[in-house]
Symmetry: C3
Subunit: 139 residues, 3 copies
């Protein structure tokens, strides 16, 4: 059994940002030399997400607008969590909708993806250092 573990670093320029990390995960997979297995990619922080969807700029705007509607940032005082001095309660909620992690099949040394699947890091409380874990297990 082979195992490969890597950590990706992010520090976004805005509070909300979606970043396509597929090439970064593909690079780690190549280095791992794993041909068949499972690949876990997860946010290591609880106000961000890793998810798989479409790399289309219009859709990303839709995600932003939609998440803001379902879990609005303002008014900050609507959330008990923000009584601690934080302003990011909404980011903790948004992350539950978008998810913490994805598990991806590795087949013939490749991410076994449908035609439009791309991996995204979803930042909902940015402008600070965050990490994403990539763990591949197989043979």
């Amino acid at each position: 059994m082979k195992v490969k573990t890597e950590y990706l670093l992010f520090n976004t320029s805005s509070r909300f940002q979606l970043i396509n990390i597929t090439p970064l995960v593909e690079k780690i997979l190549k280095e791992s030399e794993i041909k068949e297995g499972l690949c876990l990619v997860n946010a290591m922080h609880i106000s961000s997400s890793v998810f798989i969807n479409d790399d289309e700029i219009g859709l990303h705007k839709d995600f932003h607008k939609w998440l803001e509607k379902l879990a609005p940032h303002e008014p900050i005082t609507q959330y008990s969590h923000n009584d601690t001095g934080e302003e990011n309660a909404d980011a903790h909620l948004k992350r539950q909708i978008m998810g913490r992690e994805v598990v991806i099949a590795i087949t013939n040394s490749k991410l076994d993806f449908g035609p439009w699947e791309q991996i995204f890091y979803g930042e909902f409380d940015g402008m600070r250092k965050k990490r994403v874990l990539v763990k591949i297990m197989g043979e």
Copy 2:
């Protein structure tokens, strides 16, 4: 270590449809002869889901109504993604709530399920060819 990979094909008759795929996954598990391990089942398209919930027709109606409330299909023009000529932006959002994938424990050659757990393919933009991946890893 044993690995088994299969692809399921769907082409639903309506835009929204929930299909119980548990028997299909159980068949693949049996063929794999894997006794202990993990089974990944994921949608390979980004406007559909794989999830685990109850096989109860009333609940499926509730899911349909609820998802339509949280991410309505109409009016199509409310979504930037649909400016590309698509009409399925809502399906990309619905899929985030319902999830892309499930990971299931394999114990004693069986899906290690609670009493009501059933695996569903959730189609939110149907009437076209879609695939689901099943990957089992273990021994």
Copy 3:
């Protein structure tokens, strides 16, 4: 390859409850003697969740209020599922937002977590016996 399977039992005192189960999962990991691998933790019932977020009491209140807004318990008659005699349709919906399972990387014999990641059992239809499965696979 090593595999460890355990079941956790819950019977909460209230309908909605969030329980930090990180120490229970860490104990199972220690017993498994697995150094590198993947750990699956999932609800075995379809009206509850396992998720990773912050162990902060204000945030837990926010989750409760927010889930009640997105998928209200009352009026019970708004859900077709409740025509079966159940009163828990909302719990089936809430569970989709919060998720069924988490997959956690095991690195150097530890849950490979960011600084604030904690595992929670989320009960949305409590006061009855429920189970959570923990399966660790690695070496």
